[in-house]
Symmetry: C2
Subunit: 137 residues, 2 copies
């Protein structure tokens, strides 16, 4: 399963280490198209137009979108709407002890929400998502 | 012209007073469907599903989307992608002295960007947007 992992870049890198751990976990079994989102020393050398073209191409290529939404991000909100438009399965994780999710995401019946209290809950949920997609194919 | 004004709610209310001033300015000539975004004491009593249904109905009804994007926001990113999908004109304002805009917005050729240095630059730009839309009708 090709995974598009979405996390905040310009909106703030406070959760970059968390993104890194989730991406490394997924990569044990499946490729992550957006591996750079977990790079703790991320330097974006591409133009905004180049980044946009690359990311939308990856969204089209992906089998599933997994977003970590504890940190607000314009780009992640855009990517989720774009994934919805393409009909890709979209899974949203957020730490409910520190985040009240935007109603544009939590109120949209298309999205599959995974509120968690402890990071450890993320990994078995990711396993289930990938297993269930493999079962469909 | 019916205006959908987009600003951060759950992503942080640090710019709520700015949203309020922009909304009050637009309202001198045109209706703002999302006037509550500038409410400094905003209490959302609706369910997430109710908010989502109302906001997407307003996006469909609007003639133009005007977003203030200096503060990151999942909801505003989602709304911009939704407005693009509907083919609505989408204008993005941001304070370039404090914000590096997400490449998913700045790299998307559909969006019309209005980086500004001083708030005073916003108002004549809003006038031009509304005048040019009136000219088309």
């Amino acid at each position: 399963m090709k995974v598009y992992f979405a996390g905040s870049i310009k909106g703030g890198r406070g959760d970059a280490a968390l993104y890194h751990r989730i991406i490394e976990y997924i990569k044990k079994t499946d490729p992550v198209l957006t591996e750079h989102v977990g790079n703790l020393n991320l330097q974006e050398n591409n133009t905004p137009e180049g980044i946009y073209d690359q990311d939308t191409a990856w969204l089209k290529e992906a089998d599933v979108l997994i977003a970590e939404c504890s940190n607000p991000s314009l780009g992640v909100g855009y990517e989720l709407a774009f994934g919805e438009k393409l009909g890709k399965p979209c899974h949203i994780f957020y730490d409910k002890s520190r985040t009240v999710l935007s109603a544009m995401l939590s109120g949209d019946p298309y999205f599959i929400l995974h509120p968690y209290e402890r990071e450890e809950e993320i990994y078995p949920a990711v396993d289930k998502i990938l297993e269930s997609l493999r079962g469909e194919n």
